[in-house]
Amino acid sequence: GLECDGKVNICCRKQFYVNFRDIGWSDWIIAPPGYYGNYCEGECPSHIAGTSGSSLSFHSAVINHYRIRGYSPFNNIKSCCVPTKLRAMSMLYYDDGHNIVKKDIQNMIVEECGCS
């Protein structure tokens, strides 16, 4: 449940807020005004107990993003800094000019990180 503060390199949660107006998406997303694309990073020394993580959050998008960019894949992974607590996010958006969709998406925001 640590927040990354740039001083320690141990497994922590990095906050990353994106305001939809700043990226030109506020015309089709009615609510919320932005998204907390938090993700986990940092070392997991072997003595830290493990917990299970979840693959659906934005964290996995960041991992895949870097993995796709050729950062070397990792075999026989031991312990990993992963999301350990996630929460849902409701979105209200236009899917074209006349339809508005309201969706509750589970596991959308990383609340806490921990070592798997």
Binding site: D27, A31, Y71, C81, Y93, D95, H98, K102, K103
Partner: protein
Amino acid sequence: DGARSECPSCSLPTLQGDPAAADTQLVEAVKRHILNMLHLKSRPNITHPVPKAALLNALKKLHVGRVREDGRVEIEEDWSSKSVLNEPEQASEIISFAEAGPSQDVLHFQIAKEEEGDLSLVEQANIWLYLKLSNKSNRSRSKVTLRLSQEGKGGKAVSEKQVDIKRSGWHTLPVSRTVQTVLASQDRSLMLKVSCDLCPEAGVSPVLMEPADKEESHRPFLMLLVRESAAHTHRIRKR
């Protein structure tokens, strides 16, 4: 410079170096992630958005959202607790506003392409119509009958309801079965003819498609509660 870690997120190059480039990459990752979670291939292009008054009215009537002082819409978070479904994450609530049909008394609904083909299961579908009392309304009459028939299908009766007309107000007519059939069709287009027995005598009329210059807060809309069928959800999981 320690031994390379053996774990993806431990070995993520901390986003140092050029912070701007790192942020740009992260914003792109956020965009992709949101579109993925909404099952959208790309962001929708809003061609002609619904009048804001009509939108806010619908959100308020359906308890989907509320408007703050600064005009921003806030989602009613406990929507899923109100929803009739017990798996909110597979449910979508769709509000489809009427467009002008081929004649004054016909409404055209182009229903959202939320899910592919007939994989969406309609849990609830209601047409919301606003009945307006004229000042010449005949107080002695207290009920009229609203009727919806599907245009282009031989005028097949779709829904009918006797409603109270003590005052102007919104009324809902259930259309689940018809919408389920439309969702399975290719063009997802629904044309509904609105008729009302005794409305003229009672001095009341349904608000249909107003001319663009008139205030549009009572535009008719279709409220749809759709659940992805297990097959569809399974397909997503498998992927």
